[in-house]
Symmetry: C2
């Protein structure tokens, strides 16, 4: 196996975030499921945006947030995702490249606009996402560069890729190339509603070892195994995947491998502002620990640290150097 050129290559829906702080009444008035990600069409996007307050915009997208977090820690990263060549798409391309991520996916020249997520942040810090996939719908297996995938130690994929019509082909192609090259494949389950839409396929990916590592939060894990009992779900997860990492908000995370189960505490925070990107940044820190060979416990701590940074401000991308934060906390980076 040749040395990897990239530590992690991420593939995901490239989504521009439009964030606003609002109240519970807004969610109720628009029939939103708090804490979830709902797919919306253009008509609903227009209706929601019309009623939203003044917003802050920044690049987002689950796997992209993770990859930017990894780059921020100092990892060598690449990203594959589809925007349109429009004003917002150009902001998106700028941001991911400016973060130090290799990004070469050709933008769409026609078709729908760059995808957007209208993210409502309530006073308790919870985020509720309404995503218009737009150009992210246009991602196909043709966007996968086999040489780039084969040159990446990890391929990181988001479950959200099951929503656009052809992206799962890109996902499966990347997984095959990665495994043929002796690389590892990680998947985040993304969202409990997403798990509900694709439960059978996600379980297949795990049981057929199409993926080696799975990230999930508690709600996603419970949805996956359709049980409210955490221990039952965890036991099934251990049987189904080589490495399962379950985040539990302020309770920290559980790393479940064939060898055993490791619990890692959450990182202390001053004030919860916006949970957008918490899981994405946890995955960034954890994967950074994995690619540096630091062991599950330290990987979990790096994940907790990155998640703690991102939930203390608006938006899903780090606003400070995660590498420096880790050093200040005595963690190896």
């Amino acid at each position: 196996m040749t040395p990897a050129k990239y530590d992690v290559l991420g593939i995901g829906n490239a989504i521009f975030d439009v964030l606003v702080q609002t109240d519970e009444a807004f969610l109720a008035a628009h029939g939103m499921s708090k804490g979830g990600m709902a797919l919306i069409d253009e008509v609903r996007a227009t209706a929601i945006y019309r009623d939203m307050g003044p917003a802050t915009e920044m690049s987002g997208g689950s796997a992209a947030n993770t990859i930017v977090g990894l780059a921020n820690f100092g990892a060598r990263t690449a990203y594959v995702g589809k925007v349109k060549d429009d004003q917002i798409g150009r902001l998106y391309v700028h941001d991911i490249r400016a973060a130090g991520v290799a990004f070469e996916t050709r933008p769409a020249n026609d078709g729908p606009a760059t995808g957007c997520s209208y993210i409502l942040v309530t006073p308790d810090g919870e985020r509720t996402m309404n995503t218009y996939l737009g150009a992210a719908q246009e991602l196909t297996s043709g966007d996968i560069d086999a040489a780039q995938v084969a040159a990446s130690a990890f391929v990181y994929l988001e479950g959200y890729l099951w929503d656009p019509k052809n992206a799962k082909d890109a996902f499966l192609k990347a997984s095959t190339i990665a495994h043929d090259a002796g690389r590892k494949v990680a998947l985040t389950l993304s969202d409990s509603f997403c798990v509900d839409r694709y439960r059978g396929e996600f379980l297949d990916l795990m049981r057929k070892r199409t993926v080696d590592v799975v990230f999930a939060n508690e709600a996603e894990l419970h949805s996956l195994y359709e049980t409210s009992d955490f221990e039952t779900a965890l036991k099934q997860l251990r049987a189904d995947v080589n490495l399962g990492v379950v985040t539990r908000s302020e309770k920290g995370c559980i790393v479940a491998s064939q060898e055993g189960v490791t619990a890692v505490p959450a990182y202390p925070i001053d004030k919860l502002v916006d949970t957008t990107g918490a899981g994405d940044l946890f995955a960034a820190g954890f994967l950074f620990g994995l690619v540096r060979g630091l062991g599950y416990e330290k990987a979990g701590r790096l994940g907790a640290l990155a998640a703690a940074e991102v939930i203390q401000h608006i938006g899903a991308r780090p606003q400070t150097s995660l590498k420096q934060l880790a050093q200040q906390s005595g963690l190896p980076v």
Copy 2:
């Protein structure tokens, strides 16, 4: 005089802010004057943006920030400024209307894109702005609705309007309409380099009573009178304008009227993050005090409070309710 429909109508360059936290070396490498606003063309905009890190975007523009701040306090407001009907322009229109501001300026259908400012925020919290005026260049006196101006207790204008080719005609038209209707006109000097470009014209506006109230920071005041002595400059200001309000960062502000001079302290802050919008939000609080008839001292305190809110986070628009903040501080709103 009929009762005013609006407390304040603002006219300014409608600019979308692209903000990034960076280091001093970036400013030096790009030959930027720290703390200033430089006008840039498309070529330089491209060169600066290419080298900038991942950014956060939100609507900006000096007078617009002030008007949004006023609306946030609970004032009845309107804004006049020119964007293009492009993706960013539509974000801009959304944001100002969502803030509760009446905004009816027709967007440009062709010509340059919506204006952008590339704002570099250094670790000391200072911001350095590089502004591509874009569609803001297209504002003309035809965009001024005489009835709307006449129905506004205050018209608030930014000195930056002297930069685009026709906006000063809009400015002068609005001032004439306002005074004919018995209303007041306020001007912010905007930027010390801007004052340097238009010193003679700005002094004319003051001495001919085209404007009744002038907002300036220390650097702008020193530039206006080409003196490094604060007391000398202040004395001249008092002779030239009915009401002069000078902001002095952490030293608070000086309100200089024909009756006397009032000093108001700055509002305490926890951590300076980004000074973008400090002067704009000070003006918002001060004008709110004026339109509510609270007197100069309380108006100064409201200005200080609003400035303190905006400098403790990234971006020039308030992230919390200024009305509630004022109430919590025992200030009348």
